[in-house]
């Protein structure tokens, strides 16, 4: 059975798998395009439309259309539509369902086993939410993998047998990531990563929208503010994105802003666009600089390539600016599709490795033969290791016994190698205490801080304490961040070394809720 890679993007998503000759290929959707807008339209509570049609509808019925869902992943924010509260995981599940269903139509077989990509800078809660979204969509999520790693895999396949150090600069629709990756002897090692969740093409669009609205008001001082009308705002967003895209090849573009029965023809030049968004680009440059500094601390100074990923890197100013600032010539390799293709390759290779590991050698062999891989290639895949790092520091809330003040003690630091596990001792505070709370926190800013405010809670749980224990009874809790950046927690009592019951919910949704959502959503018609 085939396995699939899904690039679940903020603005566009894409699904790929391995074709008959072992190459990753993107599967088109029913509308015939490679990428599907990550926009969800609720025609009713049980009929949902995803993709270009939904994006078109945003202009007519903005109240029932949701976009930029990825920005809410891992956050406790719901959207109320037709009287139902939807969690970000559920909204993302609709997009995944659409991709999987369309892939089934074009590939002729069920798309069930998938790898989903997330920005490298995503923390444990966001990764976990993405994993859950996959399960809500009824998919079997083989793994969650970082987008730059997926891009690096595609890159590595296109440029085989060369040991290289590359800097991946990924500017998509909603997030920005920079990652330093070393490719050595077929192995992939992430040196360090950094980024910003709220920086992407959509912010470029927002600047243009504000500009258009401003110019419209200057021309029609008596008219109402176009941004007061959600329909006009949606229309302007579309116009803005079109203008931005057209300005990659042309130097002027005219937008006709229509609102309140009036029209203003606003001319936007490429220069003006670059002026309006200069600070955004500056932020990406600053973060890139920070990444290079971290890499330098880890002994990486020279780069062979700068790989540009993400649709927004098509803006000519990006490559130009990076070249002047870093002196690196950028390579633009399939920036829209490289991630999905890499994810498909990863899904394929990882399934193959798991089969080999579980001793199902013939099935592995059969899978490789179907994809036409030589024995040498198989050996290489079987032996490939992928080393990743933590994107954020994480730790636990500790209470000062004297003052009662709470602070965060970090156990794993940003850019520590994964998997990383740390154990911490706890002691009960009262006699006959029946449970103990653990709160797992993750660094929220770009540097670590012990202040609770500077951290997000990503998991909370309680440990059951057997009856009849005195105060001071020792417990050891182990926190593990696995290679995909997902969090696992285990507790052991220290007298006998036995495991303790632990109920922990990472992110906003419990396992039961995931199951409930999956059942509820399976009744919804998605097209």
């Amino acid at each position: 059975m085939a396995v699939y890679g899904i690039d679940l993007g903020t603005t566009y998503s894409c699904i790929a798998s391995i074709d008959d000759v072992g190459r990753p290929a993107v599967l088109r959707n029913l509308e015939g395009t490679d990428t599907t807008p990550s926009v969800v339209y609720f025609e009713s509570g049980d009929n949902v439309v995803v993709g270009a049609t939904a994006k078109d509808t945003a202009v007519l019925d903005p109240g029932n259309v949701v976009s930029l869902i990825k920005r809410d992943m891992g956050r406790d924010v719901t959207r109320r539509i037709h009287g139902i509260d939807f969690k970000p995981e559920e909204l993302s599940a609709f997009i995944l369902l659409k991709l999987a269903t369309d892939a089934r139509t074009s590939a002729g077989e069920e798309a069930r086993d998938v790898v989903i990509t997330v920005p490298a800078y995503f923390g444990a809660a966001e990764r976990d939410a993405t994993h859950k979204a996959g399960r809500i969509a009824g998919l079997n999520v083989i793994d969650i993998v970082s987008e730059p790693i997926a891009a690096a895999i595609t890159y590595g396949v296109l440029n085989p047998d060369a040991d290289r150090t590359i800097l991946v600069y990924d500017l998509g629709g909603g997030t920005f990531d920079t990652t330093v990756i070393a490719l050595r002897g077929g192995h992939i090692e992430v040196v360090c990563t950094d980024g910003d969740h709220e920086l992407g093409g959509a912010d470029w669009d927002a600047r243009i929208v504000e500009f258009l609205a401003e110019r419209f008001l200057a021309e029609h001082p008596g008219a109402s503010d176009p941004l007061d009308d959600p329909q006009t705002e949606q229309q302007l967003r579309r116009d803005a994105e079109d203008a931005k895209k057209s300005l990659t090849t042309r130097t002027v573009h005219t937008v006709r802003v229509m609102h309140d029965g009036r029209v203003a023809a606003v001319e936007l030049t490429r220069e003006k666009l670059e002026d309006l968004t200069r600070d955004l680009l500056d932020r990406t440059i600053e973060i890139t600089g920070r990444t290079l500094a971290t890499a330098a601390e880890k002994g990486v100074h020279d780069y062979d390539d700068l790989v540009l990923v993400g649709g927004s890197t098509k803006m000519p100013v990006v490559a130009a600016r990076l070249e002047t600032e870093l002196g690196l010539r950028a390579r633009l390799q399939d920036p829209d599709l490289a991630v999905a293709k890499g994810a498909a390759l990863y899904a394929f290779e990882e399934t193959y490795r798991r089969l080999v590991r579980e001793g199902a050698a013939e099935r592995a062999e059969e899978m490789a033969n179907r994809a036409g891989l030589s024995a040498e290639q198989q050996r290489q895949i079987a032996g490939r290791t992928i080393r990743t790092v933590a994107s954020h520091a994480f730790g636990i809330v500790v209470v000062d016994r004297e003052t009662g003040e709470e602070s965060v003690a970090h156990l794993v630091h940003a850019n520590d190698e994964l998997p990383a596990a740390r154990s911490e001792d706890f002691f009960t505070v009262f006699d006959d205490q029946d449970s103990a709370d653990v709160r797992v926190m993750e660094q929220a800013g770009s540097v670590e801080s012990p202040d609770l405010l500077d951290n997000n809670e990503i998991a909370a749980g309680d440990i059951r304490i057997p009856a009849g224990k005195r105060a001071g009874w020792p417990i050891e809790v182990t926190f593990q961040l696995d290679a995909s950046g997902l969090l696992n927690v285990a507790a052991v009592e220290k007298e006998k070394g036995e495991r303790l019951d632990l109920k922990i919910d990472v992110g906003g949704m419990s396992e039961e809720e995931v199951e409930r959502s999956r059942t509820a959503l399976s009744r919804v018609q998605v097209s």
């Binding site: 930029l68 809410d72 956050r75 406790d76 924010v77 719901t78 959207r79 109320r80 927002a206 929208v209 504000e210 503010d225 941004l227 007061d228 959600p230 705002e233 005219t254 006709r256 023809a265 154990s423 001792d425 609770l452 405010l453 020792p474 050891e476 052991v492 220290k494 007298e495 006998k496 070394g497 036995e498 019951d501």
Partner: protein, 863 residues
């Protein structure tokens, strides 16, 4: 009511109106209710922050929400305390909020008073700006102005240029004659009271009209001619010109005030000048001074007005103003601006003339665009530009698309080669003859004709349009749309085929052929008797009559049908597991007389009675067909999940429902792990398929020694809640455990294949750590004891500094290793010297021996 909407209306919108200033009152901002309850506060804060996040999706709220979030960070400690149960800091804040609000209002009143000055007047924009800067809603700003008795009004628009071009001469003459202003000249002594000039001229006892002017003319005519009469003549000429006398009077007054304003007179001085020296009624005087002060932004006069015009792109108006009324002693700046305006107008006029002479409309368009960029109000340029047609599109092609939804004509054309300006395209359609222009025919949107008239010659024309001018139309055609019959369905029965469709109303008839032979048919269907067990191919075409009445037949729609005798059902069926493959089943049945048997899986009992006959399509919509291999006496399938396996016989388009078998999927449990933990064996595995329970059997002792087997049924719930199974087993005996899935099918219980695991016997060796020896040479003895004699392959004593117990030998430093240690027995080492707390612990590296730790207090050394 929707919280988001309410919050937007009650909090976000007012805050936005106040210049993105969040409400100071936290009760409003966080929808808090008094008395403050810790849980309610926490819930409200959470809900409000979610509202923020959602509102941030709309651009207009983004800045405000970012500000709210930033301020929330500052407040986080207060809310954290409230959440913990201490609402005092929050209550404290709420009290502070009220005071801050009061202070803000004070600030607005003071600023308004400053702005209003001696006139006690401000503009609406100023009120809004002041309110915004202080963080108070605009409405409240206006209310505060009312409290302060400050008038809020737009300044009157005063004439920028003289209504009479030679006004400077009039003014000179008035000065020579020693008149304060025009009314003084006209009415002299008769002007006794204050006059109003803003809304028309009015003063007690006099009227300003043509008669008054004529009276003055007559009076001066009576005087002997001298230089005074010449000057009076100049003034009277102005009054008798086509300029309205009251406008001229107003301009005269305004110019005098402007002059004072340019000389930096204060507001108070201007007001006094207007009322006392010029004799203006106090209300008008205030309005005049207010307007003049606002007009120049506090000085600048002509220069400022020129600049305002230039900035607004009204360069032509600026040049006119400069030509019309710029004094020779105008300030330098004004002169410079005037020169600039004139220069730009000249250049623009040149461009406009060049454009008028240009034959290429595109080039002319660009010249005019340049001219308009220089001078936005250049007379005639915009009109001329709007009338320049673009080049026509190079070529047009029309394709007829036939889809399920209907027939569409799609038009393809390259854009017009004209690149200047905003070129748009109009597409029109006409029957019978080509359109002659953009308005000749039905307009079409988006280059598609969704409802083309059927069976008629159609012509399409595309015109390129720029402004009000259109290119010549480019035509394609004639296109004749003749749709095929729609919704064609051909169904086969037992020895019969029927067809059905919808024929377009315009079609004259239909032509049906089977394998080349005509089949009689009505407009909307046919029915024909044919032999069974063969596939028949039909071609269904529509017939139209062309303009000359000749028949035109469409290419037609192809359909096939294979009639057959109805299938016979399978009456009985038996299923048994395949011994070679635990996931597979052998399904046996007697082959039916007619039709092919397939097996399907349903998840509920099949809804159809046996022998029911239904269309195959209907069946496929509800059930999943199981892939199967032929096997002796039946088929071999891998159902994959539980359900009802049903035999259906398929022939032609029909399926006969046969017997079914209830199938339960009982695979062997996967990944069975058995670990010994003290007196128990822990058993874990992947829950097998749909098993309702598993049967766990275990036997203590070596196989063949005849000990009884203990069996237990374990439900899934029991397994999940305990996270595995704990089987009590003596530590020093081996044990064999088997697990098998159990399910019910019909009335019987079924057990799936079992998987077994074996756990070796263990000998538990207890140890004690005993400290001994003299103070200068302390020793540590490890004393080992067990239920029976044994030997430990390798014993390791480990020390770990700190407060954490070592869990593996690798967790600390090795103090000593002994090989092959007899039990019972003891070994001794020097007591390690370590400062600070530490742990000691022994580890055995041996397959069958397990060490039992002594009480923790003897392992932990807390110094």
């Amino acid at each position: 009511m929707n919280t988001d909407e309410e919050y937007r209306r009650a909090v976000l919108e007012p805050a936005r109106a106040a210049g993105d200033q969040p409400p100071e009152d936290l009760r409003v901002r966080y929808m808090l209710r008094e008395p403050l309850e810790p849980a309610a506060v926490a819930a409200a804060v959470k809900q409000v922050r979610q509202c923020w996040r959602r509102a941030r999706g709309q651009l207009k709220y983004r800045r405000l929400v970012d500000r709210l979030e930033a301020e929330h960070r500052e407040l986080a400690a207060v809310f954290a305390a409230a959440e913990r149960g201490d609402v005092r800091p929050l209550a404290e804040r709420l009290r502070g909020g009220r005071e801050r609000d009061e202070r803000r209002r004070e600030a607005v009143r003071a600023r308004l008073a400053d702005a209003a000055g001696a006139l006690r007047m401000v503009t609406p924009a100023e009120v809004e700006a002041i309110a915004r800067a202080a963080g108070v809603p605009a409405d409240e700003g206006r209310a505060l102005a009312a409290v302060e008795r400050i008038d809020v009004r737009e300044p009157d628009r005063l004439p920028p240029t003289a209504p009479y071009a030679a006004y400077p001469k009039v003014r000179e003459s008035l000065d020579v004659l020693g008149r304060r202003h025009l009314p003084d000249f006209l009415f002299g002594e008769r002007l006794t009271g204050p006059m109003r000039v803003l809304d028309g001229f009015a003063a007690a006892g006099v009227t300003l009209d043509a008669a008054a002017v004529e009276a003055a003319v007559a009076a001066w005519a009576r005087r002997s001619r001298d230089t005074s009469t010449t000057h009076a003549g100049t003034i009277l000429a102005g009054l008798r010109s086509d300029a309205d006398p009251s406008e001229l009077v107003r301009y005269d007054i305004v110019e005098r005030l402007r002059e004072r304003a340019r000389q930096r007179a204060s507001e108070r001085a201007l007001l006094r000048f207007a009322m006392e020296d010029l004799g203006i009624e106090p209300g008008d005087a205030r309005r005049l001074v207010f307007a003049i002060v606002r007009e120049s932004g506090g000085g600048g006069g002509v220069a400022a007005r020129l600049r305002a015009l230039l900035d607004a792109g009204e360069v032509y108006a600026a040049a006119e103003m400069a030509d019309g009324g710029l004094d020779n002693d105008a300030p330098d700046e004004a002169a410079v601006l005037a020169a600039e305006a004139r220069r730009r107008v000249e250049a623009a006029v040149r461009l406009r003339e060049q454009a008028a002479a240009e034959t290429d409309p595109d080039r002319a368009w660009r010249l005019l665009a340049d001219a308009l960029r220089l001078v936005g109000d250049l007379p005639g340029a915009a009109e001329l530009q709007r009338r320049l047609p673009p080049e026509p599109v190079p070529a047009v092609r029309a394709d007829v698309d036939v889809t399920a939804g209907g027939t569409t004509v799609r038009l393809f054309f390259e854009p017009s080669p004209s690149t200047a300006g905003d070129v748009r395209y109009h597409v029109v359609r006409r029957r019978d003859r080509p359109p002659r222009g953009a308005a000749d025919g039905e307009p079409l949107v988006g280059g598609r004709d969704e409802r083309p008239p059927v069976n008629a010659p159609l012509y399409y024309a595309v015109t390129a349009v720029r402004g009000e001018a259109a290119s010549a139309p480019v035509v394609t055609g004639p296109v004749v749309v003749r749709p095929e019959p729609a919704d064609v369905a051909v169904a086969a029965g037992d020895g019969v085929v029927t067809g059905r469709w919808r024929l377009p109303a315009e079609a004259a008839g239909v032509r049906v052929t089977r394998d080349g032979h005509r089949v009689p048919a009505t407009r909307d269907g046919f029915s024909e008797i044919v032999p069974n067990e063969a596939t028949h191919h039909y071609l269904i075409a529509a017939v139209y009559l062309d303009a000359d009445g000749r028949e035109v037949v469409t290419p037609g729609v192809r359909r096939s049908a294979a009639p057959s005798a109805p299938p016979d059902p399978v009456f009985e069926l038996a299923a048994a597991p395949d011994p070679a493959d635990p996931d597979a089943l052998f399904v046996r049945f007697d082959p039916p007389g007619h039709g092919t048997v397939e097996l399907v899986l349903t998840h509920e009992p099949p809804p159809w009675p046996r022998s029911a006959l239904l269309p195959v399509a209907e069946l496929r919509g509800v059930v999943r067909r199981l892939p199967s291999d032929p096997a002796p006496g039946g088929l071999r399938v891998r159902p994959g999940s539980a359900g009802w396996i049903m035999a259906v016989t398929v022939a032609g388009g029909f399926a006969a429902i046969g017997a079914h078998h209830r199938h339960v999927h009982l695979p062997p449990p996967g990944r069975v792990v058995a670990d010994r933990r003290g007196g128990h064996v822990h058993l874990g595995f992947d829950w097998p398929g749909d098993a309702a329970e598993v049967e766990v059997a275990f036997r203590v002792g070596r196989s063949g020694d005849g000990r009884p087997v203990t069996r237990r049924a374990v439900t899934r719930a029991a397994y999940d809640t305990q996270g595995g199974l704990r089987l009590p087993v003596p530590e020093d005996e081996p044990v064999e455990v088997t697990v098998a899935a159990v399910g019910t099918a019909g009335d019987g219980r079924l057990t799936g294949p079992a998987v077994s695991a074996r756990v070796a016997a263990r000998t538990v060796v207890a140890y004690e750590l005993v400290r001994g020896g003299p103070p200068w040479r302390r020793s540590l003895t490890v004393r080992l004891s067990a239920g029976r004699a044994a030997r430990i392959g390798r014993l390791e004593l480990v020390l770990r500094e700190g407060r954490v117990m070592p869990h593996r030998a690798g967790d600390g430093e090795t103090v000593q290793v002994w090989e092959s240690v007899p039990v019972p027995g003891e070994v001794t080492v020097d007591l390690p010297r370590v400062a600070g707390p530490y742990w000691l612990r022994c580890f055995a590296d041996d397959d069958v021996i397990e060490l039992g730790d002594p009480p923790v207090r003897s392992l932990r050394v807390a110094k």
